[in-house]
């Protein structure tokens, strides 16, 4: 991340990046991928039955990268075209870090493009939050604030994963998502404490994003299993820390954290998605699917 555009916010809203956490990534990469050899026989790995959990993490990052990519040439200023492009690239990198590993432990041997380009909607495991259509800039900052706060807590937890590769990917991702959180926080504060119009728009965006949040903290079957093995983090345990992070930003922004919502999105982790997902996949996949077997 390179860009914190326009006016600086004097007090950093999030803590500075202090933990490089690169050693885990490097040691994980030096060793052969566990299970990589075993995937040739086509059998799933009973000792690593948590591919479904990792697929949720990878798909969240992949789908949000796709949405953020839509901002390029559409952002409020050129600096923001670059910044949102950076966030998209980081998330895309996180997904690309996980997909081949998932392919090695789910017994299919699939590569990153098999996951991204050739799966139908019911096979995707991302939450509804990331698949929603691009709204206005306040909507995006509300989504990025919540999602990056969630990812900061998630990846901080995953750096202690009993799976070295997961810990390695999380160590690298943690550095990135701290910047994403910083970037979103700075904007939410500027918009909340900017003009009357921006305040109203930011408040409305915080309310619109509300129905998509509970799903981030749902303990679905795959995460219960992964957490039980010490590989994953139980989503419900992240809730309070994430809300606390967001609440601090919202308060500094002179906004109000809305409470409660009648509708709560659900089902993303088991492949039940909302209407925008089909169109997103059509756009993401159509060229790759139009040329079966082609390389690019």
């Amino acid at each position: 991340m390179s860009d914190h555009a326009t006016a600086p916010v004097t007090e950093p809203v999030t803590e500075p990046v202090t933990d490089p956490a690169t050693s885990a990534t490097e040691s994980a990469r030096r060793e052969p991928l566990p299970g990589a050899a075993g995937s040739a026989d086509g059998g799933a790995h009973d000792d690593k039955p948590y591919a479904g959990y990792l697929l949720g993490l990878a798909d969240d990052a992949m789908v949000y990268a796709q949405r953020l990519g839509e901002w390029m040439t559409n952002a409020p200023q050129i600096e923001e075209d670059m910044a949102l492009g950076n966030v998209a690239l980081d998330l895309l990198g996180q997904a690309r870090g996980l997909y081949p590993y998932i392919g090695s432990i789910d017994g299919t041997g699939r590569g990153e493009d098999d996951y991204a380009m050739l799966r139908d909607e019911r096979e995707w495991r991302n939450v509804h939050l990331v698949e929603q259509e691009r709204g206005d800039f306040a909507d995006e900052m509300a989504r990025l604030l919540w999602f990056s706060a969630y990812q900061v807590e998630l990846h901080a937890g995953l750096t202690d994963s009993s799976d070295d590769i997961v810990a390695g990917v999380a160590g690298k991702a943690l550095k990135e998502v701290r910047y994403h959180l910083d970037h979103a926080s700075l904007w939410v504060v500027r918009l909340g404490d900017g003009t009357d119009e921006s305040h109203a728009r930011m408040q409305a965006a915080l309310e619109r994003v509300l129905p998509q949040l509970a799903e981030l903290f749902d303990d679905d079957e795959a995460s219960v299993l992964a957490a039980g093995l010490g590989v994953g983090v139980l989503p419900s345990t992240l809730h309070d820390a994430v809300v606390a992070r967001v609440a601090r930003v919202v308060e500094q922004a002179t906004l109000t954290l809305p409470d409660g919502s009648r509708w709560r999105s659900r089902g993303g982790r088991s492949g039940i998605h909302s209407r925008p997902m089909g169109s997103l996949l059509a756009e993401l996949q159509h060229i790759a699917r139009s040329h079966p077997g082609a390389t690019w």
């Binding site: 326009t6 950076n86 690239l89 119009e197 060229i287 040329h291």
Partner: protein, 348 residues
């Protein structure tokens, strides 16, 4: 890089990989011998810096040229930017995002270089949005297939680099320094375009047809990027070339750069297996250059006047993004002003 013995990764693919770039990038900008007189600096081939006195027409020419260049980078994000969501693999998607980001960055460098001449970015953007300043006409052509991303990188970025390497020695220091960095990044872009086409030409029949079709559509507009003829009979007709050369802004005639570009691209097309859409294209032993056919200058002027396939679309998109973001920029300014006041009060 390409995993084969046909393409030598050390062989230059564009002008930024030649000695001309190295020489321009190392061009001596020490100026301790001739003082700060404009004419003396120009005569000594030394750089003019923002605080130096300069003729108004020199300043205006540079503002127009640098702004047009900056606008081209920003408008140039659109034809490829609309492929980000559709890139056919994750690797291609990542490269394309990075490339479009680079273009935004180039736009920012260039607006900053223009600002050293006493104008601000907002004023320049207003002139773009109002149609008072232009951007490169090449971006008024559509990107119809994925192969167009390859053709833009290979041909359009290749032509842009050919134009820009001499600008690394431009007499105006901030512009020259921006160009040194821009050319280095453009060189990567040109290579990625070549690599897209290389893979397509070694792919399925449909992929090869896609690559050939893109080259067919982009070849002539790329040649027109060097601008109208300005040598031989055309030299007498005027235009900007003569004055810009005297001021050390422009170093080579449009026609000379175009010829260098053709000479560089023809062997690359052969390596790719792409047939360039010009039946008159052949090596001329006597001249030591490739001969090529006549460019359709009527089309060039038509697109330049605003009547090309995408002129309206590009400006409408740009204006919409700018207008939709107005409330965000106002909020950022209001926040900054509010907190600057608070800081002053607490200091007092």
């Amino acid at each position: 890089m390409y995993g084969n013995d046909v393409i030598d990764p050390n062989e230059p693919l564009n002008a930024a990989e030649t000695d001309a770039y190295e020489a321009a990038a190392e061009h001596d900008d020490q100026r301790d011998t001739v003082g700060d007189d404009f004419d003396a600096l120009i005569a000594a081939d030394q750089r003019i810096e923002p605080r130096d006195a300069m003729p108004d027409t020199y300043r205006e020419t540079l503002i127009r040229q640098i702004a047009q260049h900056a606008h081209s980078e920003i408008i140039g994000m659109q034809p490829e930017g609309n492929w980000i969501t559709r890139a056919p693999s994750l690797r291609r998607k990542a490269i394309l995002i990075a490339k479009v980001q680079d273009e935004a960055g180039h736009g920012l460098y260039l607006y900053s270089a223009a600002e050293t001449l006493g104008i601000d970015r907002q004023e320049l953007l207003d002139r773009l949005h109002d149609g008072k300043q232009k951007y490169s006409s090449i971006f008024n052509y559509p990107t119809l297939t994925w192969a167009d991303c390859g053709a833009i990188g290979w041909l359009v970025d290749g032509a842009a680099i050919m134009n820009q390497v001499p600008l690394c020695r431009c007499s105006y220091g901030p512009y020259a320094r921006a160009m040194i960095r821009v050319c280095k990044e453009e060189s990567f872009h040109q290579r990625q375009g070549f690599e897209i086409l290389w893979n397509l030409m070694r792919g399925t029949e449909a992929q090869r047809a896609m690559a050939q079709d893109a080259a067919d559509r982009w070849w002539w507009p790329a040649l027109a990027m060097f601008g109208p003829p300005d040598t031989g009979d055309a030299a007498a007709k005027g235009g900007h070339t003569e004055q810009s050369m005297a001021w050390g802004i422009k170093r080579f005639a449009n026609d000379d750069l175009r010829q260098k570009f053709v000479d560089m691209m023809v062997p690359q097309a052969e390596k790719l297996g792409i047939v360039l859409p010009d039946p008159q294209l052949r090596w001329n032993d006597e001249r030591g250059h490739y001969d090529f056919g006549e460019i359709d200058w009527d089309e060039f002027w038509q697109v330049l006047r605003g009547d090309g396939p995408c002129n309206a679309e590009r400006i409408t998109h740009r204006r919409r993004a700018h207008d939709e973001g107005a409330w965000v920029r106002e909020a950022a300014n209001a926040y900054a002003a509010k907190h600057a006041t608070t800081a002053e009060e607490s200091a007092a």
